[in-house]
């Protein structure tokens, strides 16, 4: 009953771009959260999506993660079509959403181990990911529901690091983090990029995320006009 006609190995569109959206429209409950998004992100780029609340930043990230169906227009990630080849896209993509996607009754170590294991990460890699975000040691055995907002965010990031995604989709990643955490996050992202990953960040904190990004793209009224896409 798996209805998607999957061709897992072959990307449908020959595209150099990691993310390629062309006039993508997405709808939630009859409302067009995206009213035509055109965006092209090359491999190894850090692109910042900026815009006011409700402009559609989160929706672009969810669309790229394959969580939001594409209603009109077209889009591909790593050359795989977003409408028909979502199963091939997902193992390569990691999303840090508004919500952390953690299990409140499990400890930090158990959460990172669970999310790491789903993609076959080794215990060493999982331990390294926790250490990278500073949620190892004392915090390891604390139940997630007892953590502060910032510590939860760090744990969620550690899960993402353990997942070794090729495309990172981050929604307001700096929110809730202290100064040290923000610096660590920037370092983690730069390292990820230098090892071949591509990063798409949605944030309205321009001065913070802007220094990190190679390029800033404005999202207004559910639309994106990316100058890089036409070139």
């Amino acid at each position: 009953m798996d209805v998607d006609p999957e061709v897992p190995s072959a990307p449908s569109a020959a595209s150099d771009h990691v993310v390629a959206l062309d006039q993508a429209v997405a709808v939630i409950g009859g409302f067009p959260v995206l009213a035509g998004a055109t965006l092209a992100v090359s491999s190894g780029e850090i692109v910042l999506l900026s815009g006011p609340n409700g402009a559609g930043k989160t929706s672009i990230l969810r669309l790229c993660a394959g969580l939001l169906p594409i209603a009109r227009g077209s889009g591909s990630i790593f050359g795989f079509d977003l409408a028909t080849q979502r199963d091939s896209i997902r193992p390569r993509v990691g999303l840090l959403g508004h919500r952390n996607g953690l299990y409140g009754d499990l400890t930090v170590a158990e959460n990172v181990a669970f999310w790491g294991s789903t993609v076959g990460a080794t215990p060493d890699e999982i331990g390294a990911a926790s250490a990278r975000l500073g949620v190892d040691g004392r915090l390891n055995d604390v139940v997630v529901s007892k953590l502060s907002a910032g510590q939860k965010r760090r744990t969620s990031l550690a899960c993402l690091v353990a997942r070794r995604a090729e495309l990172w989709l981050l929604d307001e990643p700096h929110a809730g983090l202290d100064a040290a955490g923000r610096d660590e996050l920037d370092t983690v992202l730069r390292q990820a990029v230098s090892s071949g990953a591509t990063v798409l960040v949605a944030s309205h904190e321009l001065e913070r995320a802007g220094s990190l990004a190679d390029r800033v793209v404005d999202v207004i009224g559910g639309q994106v006009h990316d100058s890089g896409a036409s070139s």
């Binding site: 209805v3 709808v27 009213a35 035509g36 169906p69 209603a71 009109r72 009224g221 559910g222 639309q223």
Partner: protein, 259 residues
């Protein structure tokens, strides 16, 4: 949702075709009205009373056809669901076909239950008996109300179609399981039944013919209303898309203002 529908303002409303009828549905409709008339004439008039059940047998001429059409409708729903799900194009037409059929099936199943209870009161002396067929019908009735509720959950047309197609196939899986379990349960409790016989009648001649007319009449009505309902559903989906067009324009205008 894949093709861009035309904006409704293109054609003046006065020149548009009224309703969902075509020559085919009109022919079907006329045939249906004629056979319905026959059904009333034969069912209530020409056919004789049964030896055991007397005039109560006349209820069967509507009860049995409605039950038959209800099950036919649910099988059509399952076929439509499968065609949508396993078809290469995931055509929404099959989804609407399945949905329309299920809706009509629920109406018929409600009628089957009501006429079955009236007949039961006359034949068994009670409105409700834990008879295998009645009980199965009641459970399926609730299940397909659940199916219609799943159709109403929201999301895009394709999401609705995929979700309800899966449920449509699962509920059909339920028919044999429920029927078999209820039958097995009743067979262990023969003492509980009011009458020993299951109420089956041996029909011949005019009685059989009346029943046949009933089956034809209700099947024709089913086919006729199914075509209309599917078309109405298609128009509902189109209007949704038109609404989306307007919302998209509004959203784009909002972006113009801000930039």
């Amino acid at each position: 949702m894949t093709t861009t529908p035309t904006i409704p303002a293109e054609q003046p409303a006065a020149t548009r075709r009224a309703g969902t009828g075509t020559t085919a549905t009109r022919v079907l409709g006329i045939a249906m009205v004629v056979t319905m008339g026959w059904l009333v004439a034969f069912g209530l008039g020409f056919s004789p009373a049964d030896r055991d059940q007397e005039d109560a047998v006349r209820i069967l001429y509507v009860h049995v056809p409605t039950a038959w059409v209800a099950y036919l409708a649910f099988i059509v729903t399952a076929v439509g669901s499968a065609m949508y799900l396993f078809g290469k194009k995931h055509s929404l037409g099959f989804d609407r076909f399945a949905g329309a059929s299920a809706e009509i099936g629920v109406v018929f199943m409600a009628l089957t239950l009501v006429s079955g209870m009236l007949w039961g009161k006359l034949t068994w002396g009670v409105y409700w008996q834990w008879d295998a067929r009645l009980t199965t019908t009641a459970l399926l009735f609730v299940s397909y109300i659940g199916y219609l509720a799943v159709r109403g959950l929201g999301g895009s047309h394709q999401q609705r179609a995929k979700r309800s197609a899966v449920v449509g196939l699962l509920v059909v899986l339920e028919i044999p399981l429920v029927h078999f379990s209820v039958k097995m349960w009743r067979s262990l409790h023969q003492d509980a039944s009011v009458l020993d016989s299951e109420g089956d009648v041996s029909m011949d001649g005019l009685m059989l013919f009346s029943l046949f007319v009933g089956v034809v009449a209700f099947t024709l009505w089913y086919a006729w209303i199914l075509l209309h309902r599917t078309r109405v559903m298609a128009m509902e989906d189109m209007l949704d898309d038109h609404g989306l067009d307007r919302a998209l324009d509004a959203r784009r205008a909002e972006a113009e203002e801000q930039s």
